[in-house]
Symmetry: C2
Subunit: 208 residues, 2 copies
């Protein structure tokens, strides 16, 4: 039931998904549903959002298994996300982005849950980057940039109904993360002033 | 009328905006509206989307007036977008993103219009970057990355109901664009192969 809701919210968003659509998709008997989800559509949304948090953590972990450094981690994560996007015919992007844009300004409870999903994604990326030898503040900056770029590229590729914006963004992003992990341009600098890069200091990515 | 629709679609999305809400917000007499918008809500959406294209071009132009190089252009554009986001109490992000995610998979006509807005934004950024001396292919790659990161950072900041994800992303992005414009890491390379780096930019050996 929650999985059916998760898929419908992801593709159509919140408003265009009726509680009865979820019941139909799930194939669950109608009576049991009102018993298990007395909070109706909002309760379903809360549980679907939690599922989105599990999913993104699993995706980062799967990407990390194929990666040897921060750049290849971003590439692997991009491949996982791109595959799903393409297989869905550009109908399925981020599990929660549609709901975030529809609801975040109006529903404080859901808004906190959305933010918690992004916090789990951020923490998973930061942990992987740090394990790969990136300094904590720089790992945080890169994680935020990676999340923003992937989220936005999904919006652009859904509008284009094609892989190009997403692929181009992930290619650029992974090259930049490769580069930034080794010789930072953006790490934890005060606003508007680029960080100093120690000259000639090379760092080999730590293999996990 | 189109402006009222533009604001409502931006904040609430398509499904949660009723034609009658737009009529009420606009203060236009009801009779004249059905005369001018016989296509109803979809026609309004098409005109609001065109307005979004005008707006993003104006924003890039305003940013370019304050900028001296690609990095400061990104910073200025980020400031313009951030100001609007913050003034709206995190209710107003990208003019069309909510509609893109709600509708792009289901409505081919609107989907083409969304893509046309992003194409105008892309062309405006590429033109500015090129005027600032960035090579064409590199300008295209950077424009795509900038658009993706700004779009996605708006989603994250709306979930967070705060400026942090957006500010952090734009700071990192502008530092990277500064750097990439001068010494490219990401320019027009074939997939998965980093572009040649100019002398003096150190990078750790890749372990893939």
């Amino acid at each position: 039931m929650v999985e059916a809701a998760f898929e419908l919210f992801r593709k159509r968003g919140y408003h265009a998904t009726a509680f009865s659509d979820v019941v139909r998709e799930s194939g669950a008997p109608r009576g049991s549903i009102y018993f298990h989800f007395p909070g109706g559509k909002q309760q379903l949304a809360l549980e679907a959002i939690a599922l989105a948090g599990d999913e993104i953590e699993e995706m980062v972990e799967a990407a990390a298994e194929r990666a040897t450094d921060p750049g290849s981690l971003v590439r692997a994560l991009g491949d996982i996300v791109a595959k799903r996007l393409e297989e869905s015919g550009y109908q399925s992007g981020c599990s929660i982005a549609t709901m975030v844009l529809e609801l975040a300004p109006y529903d404080e409870e859901l808004s906190a849950e959305f933010d918690a999903v992004f916090a789990r994604w951020r923490a998973a990326l930061v942990a992987q980057f740090e394990q790969m030898g990136v300094a904590p503040e720089r790992a945080a900056v890169l994680a935020e940039l990676v999340m923003s770029a992937i989220e936005g590229a999904l919006v652009l590729s859904r509008a284009a109904r094609g892989p190009e914006p997403f692929r181009s963004t992930v290619d650029a992003l992974s090259a930049i993360v490769d580069h930034e992990a080794a010789s930072p341009t953006v790490a934890s600098q005060p606003r508007r002033r680029p960080a100093r890069r120690p000259r000639g200091v090379e760092r080999a990515p730590r293999s996990r």
